[in-house]
Symmetry: C2
Subunit: 354 residues, 2 copies
DNA sequence: GCGCATTCTGAAACCGCTTTCACATGACCC
DNA sequence: GGGTCATGTGAAAGCGGTTTCAGAATGCGC
């Protein structure tokens, strides 16, 4: 089996380098096998310069005969490019960001980049640590999903690396920003409730530290205003994007005896909490109260009843972010259209009963 | 020419990577600043050998005066260790694995290792690709969460790298396996339903390609057997762990007019689907039908009604996997106790009505 | 005071690849 | 037929560390 060095694992050699011998093939070995210099091999590998066809073929054949895989670490050191992109997300275990991460992963995989995922936990300090780590790891670029960092810091980061950032608009050299219109989404949702005939519409706000949360609230207010529905401040209640805060919000309203026929929660998770509170009080969705969320998380489809919500193209956001990063890396300036919201009507909304 | 001429860029005025901010400070600069050789700095950095206190202090002071951060890429090349660990998960956007990933991230962060997350999409081929990629990236070890790879491949992988694998028991050198007793968990859940008085208990099975799914089914059967409840094969219906399959399963049973008072779904997601089917048929949980899931996903707490389920210590699993990996890296043989299941009783279960 | 074991330390050789530089080669032009 | 150029190619110098190796300094026993 092992007797024929250099021949035995020719075909399948790529997939399983070598199980036993584990002697990694280097560019030098390839060079020697092909009768050229390492420089030439490198040039072929990177397409850096023209190489005579004869040699090119010799090298290519040697490469897959030996099952050579360039060592990314060495490449990173020598070339300054690591072919890896840092991705700062806020949470690894959030259904929301997960979809975006997957989108990023797919896009990068196609072109041989590797994403380095790391989570900032919605914490500015933590996020700064993440950025430092990624920089230390010499990533070629950084994608920040809904970051907490200051615009200024982003810009200074962008002096060294291309940066793609979502959740805000930021015009700067070497930066691409991807934004989703939370305002518009919230407006649509609210408008829909109004059109159904609702007038007393609760808004459960998100964490005010989030830009998104504020925008969504603005959208809610704008829609009411536009339709001439008076805003009852008592119906605008605080939340922090967690299920529990949604539950507490509704409990609070109910215990105060507030009247309302619909609830618009600034995200799905709070909508779930709200739904539970209503359930506990034997209030039926949508017969007694209509409910709308925001994000269109996967569980929303199978919520009881299935939740009407504003779709966030999270996966697509990931795809776009990755694409934009690749463009930046190629020196192009990405053109990014703002993503539009889409209201997904399911079964948690209906005209008010009375 | 910033602050101290002749210190910052004296050695190499060649690379001007940084536009404005910080220039990368190298070990050589530290060495010069401290009046020692690079070797000595390296030794202090790694604790490789004893160094005179005077020099040690000089170096340490130079290090943080200059804000030196060792370049992991160079370290990886020279030392052969990249301080990064590959983590193969099945899905990035699954609430289930997310918690485990977070556990891993936390544990590694403490000790300066960086996890490299990559998803295999429950696909053996894809997973093989992931493993190749990680090996090419020269990770120091690999953690596989519920992998599809053959035991044999794991072992051969382990000849080069320490491997931690969850979801199976595997005794091999340089491998640590972490297992959770799916059997016991399913047994507990079923037993609980029986104790409540249920006799006609539906089991919605998971993807038979999963080891876990089979074990859970065995647990279900064992519990029925142990309590002398006859197994009605018509009540054991196939599923694939998705919400939709849970829904279809229950729709099927209902349309066939099958009688049952409880449902045990092999995971929470299928339980959600089942719940929706019941809702559509105006069947109340738990009054008409009791429902139990498996995994204790976060949405289960806020399901309507909150779902009784078997808790999977997913986060803890991540923590343990990371810890085990660190032990392997230190040449210790990790002792791993199998994690025990815990039934979380919430509101989706009750004694049968009649 | 001498030989020898210990402990520190720096020079230099890598790690595997990219990139510069200089040197052919041959094509092209007048 | 001797420049001028493009084009291909290899030698060698890094990239920023780690590690080997050998020499210097110190300590110790007798």
């Amino acid at each position: 089996m092992e007797s024929r060095p250099g021949k035995s694992q020719s075909i399948s050699g790529k997939l399983e380098i070598d199980a036993q011998g584990q002697m990694p093939v280097t560019i030098e070995m390839v060079a020697k096998a092909a009768g050229v210099s390492p420089s030439t091999v490198s040039r072929i590998l990177n397409g850096t310069a023209g190489v005579a066809d004869v040699k090119r073929q010799a090298v290519n054949s040697a490469i897959d005969r030996l099952g050579f895989i360039p060592n990314p670490v060495a490449r990173g050191l020598a070339g300054g490019r690591t072919l890896s992109i840092g991705v700062v997300t806020q949470s690894l275990d959030s259904p929301f960001y997960g979809a975006a991460l997957r989108g990023i992963e797919i896009e990068f995989q196609k072109v041989g980049y590797t994403p380095l995922f790391i989570s900032g936990q919605w914490n500015q300090l933590e996020e700064a640590r993440c950025l430092d780590l990624l920089r230390a790891r010499r990533v070629d670029g950084i994608i920040i999903l809904d970051g907490r960092v200051d615009d200024a810091d982003v810009c200074s980061l962008a002096r060294n690396l291309p940066v793609v950032i979502t959740g805000r608009s930021l015009q700067a050299p070497n930066v691409a920003s991807l934004h989703f219109s939370n305002f518009e989404g919230a407006e649509q949702a609210t408008q829909y409730l109004i059109e159904l005939g609702h007038r007393r519409i609760v808004f459960i706000a998100g964490d005010p530290a989030h830009q998104d949360a504020l925008e969504r609230q603005r959208g809610y207010r704008a829609a009411l205003l536009a339709r001439g529905v008076a805003i009852d401040e008592a119906l605008v209640v605080p939340g922090n994007f967690s299920e529990e805060s949604g539950l507490r919000a509704v409990e609070g309203l109910l215990s105060q005896g507030k009247k309302f026929s619909a609830i618009f929660a600034a995200n799905d998770q709070m909508a779930f909490g709200a739904a539970l509170a209503l359930y506990r009080h034997a209030l039926h969705i949508p017969d007694d109260v209509s409910l709308i969320g925001f994000d269109d998380l996967q569980p929303s489809v199978y919520a009881i009843p299935p939740l009407t919500t504003v779709h966030q193209p999270s996966h697509e956001m990931g795809t776009l972010a990755a694409t934009a990063m690749l463009q930046l890396l190629h020196g192009e300036r990405p053109v990014l259209s703002m993503l539009s919201p889409r209201l997904i009507v399911r079964e948690s909304t209906a005209a008010p009963s009375r």
